[in-house]
Symmetry: C2
Subunit: 334 residues, 2 copies
DNA sequence: ACCGCTCATGGAAACGATTCCATCATGGTT
DNA sequence: AACCATGATGGAATCGTTTCCATGAGCGGT
């Protein structure tokens, strides 16, 4: 099965092999001052013995764990997977390990995961927050160094978010330009920013306000499908839908097919988040592209060199026109 | 910015508050024997102070880190994201944190990540291996408790893999049943098992063997596209393609569109790995579904309770017929 | 020649938990 | 009454590292 599990060599043995004290070895290895001769000896001994300092010992002494925690609602969602990839990519260049947790957009699970992270003395955390400000108040008071990604729930925590305001406005303007007046937003937990931007955009373009035109789903695929189907079924008057994420968009396409609603003939669809399959879909989906990977990367940068961090970074989105939007139909669908 | 970072409370303070010794506190909290009265006092004090044991202290003493490492080629790939989700889901029920690394199918990066993990004294690792047996020999000798997922590169390491042999055979038989004789396999790094199964299946059905019918791509999207385009362009005689993963399938669809090769009229396509968009694609893709999440979950189970582990678990795949395969065309494509 | 300054160096404390071991009380048996 | 077995308990060692502090050497300036 596994090998004889050879004991790991410690700084003490390196010191002995080099004929110096442990303090000197530590100093040399962490870049402190030492004579050229001593440095040579220590380095040679360390290399010869293939010495690897124990992160455990170091962290215990330093009272902080290297490494960063990452909390996302769903690693299976392409958006969060790309965000995670950005974080991992940045962390790798610093040699920092990343511990990932999946919250499922459940504040309770989130709190639990934060607890685990604190137990590990992890002091840096990137999170797509599910809970409200209160959960995070506790985390902050515990000394955690938090950066929010994708969503901002507290003003006093640095965050990296896509430009939802501009993204939604672009989408609504584009649809309005095609003649649509009844536009629905299919969103989910944690998108209050976007919903606000949506209603504000609707108002600013003089379109009829209707709070029922905002539909919410939980973060599962089933819930997304139910919400999309419900919207298409009960509101035959809406001629355009904005889906607030790729699983919502997928659900909308599926539901439309099931209900014989044709895209874009009967209803136009814009999806938030450009994913590889958007182009493969039938019809190819017009999307608001979000720089998911960049969001992760920038968040990691912020949390890693946390000197004088700006309170908030906003990254631009981009409208990518494909074939899921058309002019408004004159006759109602049903 | 961040709060005053209150100092964390230690076992010593709990002991003092409860009026007992630290040893007793430790014993009570880890389920050792103690009188009912003492247990009561300790539990009360711990709760009152909101005590959380430091994983650092514990691990240093125990000489092993809880938590498990997870190495995947690409977290952005839906297959590995689902695999990771399975691991995370299982780990969560044990309260174990998971540290994720992305290897990019590069043995060098993989070795580097293993090094980082060893530095953290992590002793449990789930990996989709990129390197050959040698890399892993070192890791094993360092006392790592490894479980392979998705691929098996050493017989002496427990592993959880999909039933490639049966999956490939099913795909080839299905295509042969439709009259196809020139079937190509579009694979990538690390799929030697599947390639072997493919050539063996071809042979067993009496189809013409042709080693050029196996094309390899590296794990990037660009490389996948190039390989797919090259195959479709230079081998006008192949009438069916098996793509060895969802990014390869995506690349094949894209390349076919670009080259005006119609699916399934001109060439049939079977993709390994069922992803949500396979149904949304035009045409909907016939796939070999793989239980990615299960693979991750089972691997995590194996690595967590590593008592008497079986050398290998093989999970079934399933053919899902949609609309990307058709009968062989009689006239050559070009 | 002496003083004070800088610099390299090593011993030892500290971090927070677990666990060995000695101590002590208790209760039952000879 | 003496003794042993059992079980609860706390002191102290330990894990591997960093870092404080004391020591001593070398050296230039007065």
């Amino acid at each position: 099965m596994s090998g004889p599990a050879q004991r790991r060599i410690t700084i003490k043995e390196v010191a002995e092999a080099a004929g110096v004290g442990v303090a000197t070895v530590s100093r040399v290895l962490s870049g402190g001052s030492a004579s050229a001769e001593t440095r040579e000896k220590v380095l040679a001994a360390a290399a010869r013995l293939d010495y690897r300092p124990s992160a455990l010992g170091r962290n215990l002494r330093r009272q902080r764990t290297g490494g960063i925690g990452l909390l996302v609602p769903d690693i299976t969602d392409s958006f969060y997977a790309r965000l995670a990839d950005g974080v991992l990519s940045c962390a790798r260049s610093y040699g920092e390990p990343v511990t990932v947790g999946v919250t499922g957009d459940d504040p309770e699970r989130e709190a639990e995961l934060i607890g685990t992270l604190i137990e590990q003395s992890m002091d840096r955390l990137i999170a797509v927050p599910s809970g409200d400000g209160e959960t995070w108040g506790l985390a902050l008071r515990a000394g955690l160094n938090v950066v929010f990604a994708d969503r901002r729930v507290r003003a006093d925590v640095p965050s990296v978010v896509p430009d939802d305001r501009a993204g939604v406005l672009t989408a609504v303007e584009y649809l309005a330009g095609l003649g649509h007046r009844k536009i629905a937003y299919l969103g989910r937990h944690g998108q209050s920013q976007r919903v606000a931007a949506f209603t504000s955009a609707i108002a600013s373009l003089g379109l009829p306000a209707d709070r029922d035109l905002v539909v919410h789903a939980r973060s599962s695929r089933d819930s997304a499908y139910a919400a999309a189907a419900g919207l298409l079924q009960h509101r035959a008057d809406v001629t355009a839908v904005i889906a607030g994420g790729n699983v919502l968009g997928e659900a909308a396409v599926l539901a439309a097919r099931e209900l014989d609603v044709r895209i874009p003939k009967d209803v136009s669809l814009i999806m938030f988040d450009d994913v590889p399959w958007a182009e493969l879909c039938s019809p190819p989906l017009t999307v608001i592209a979000q720089p998911a990977q960049d969001i992760g990367y920038r968040a990691a940068e912020l949390v890693l060199r946390h000197g004088r961090r700006p309170p908030a970074v906003t990254l631009p989105t981009q409208l990518v026109v494909r074939a899921s939007c058309g002019p408004k139909v004159s006759a109602p669908r049903r």
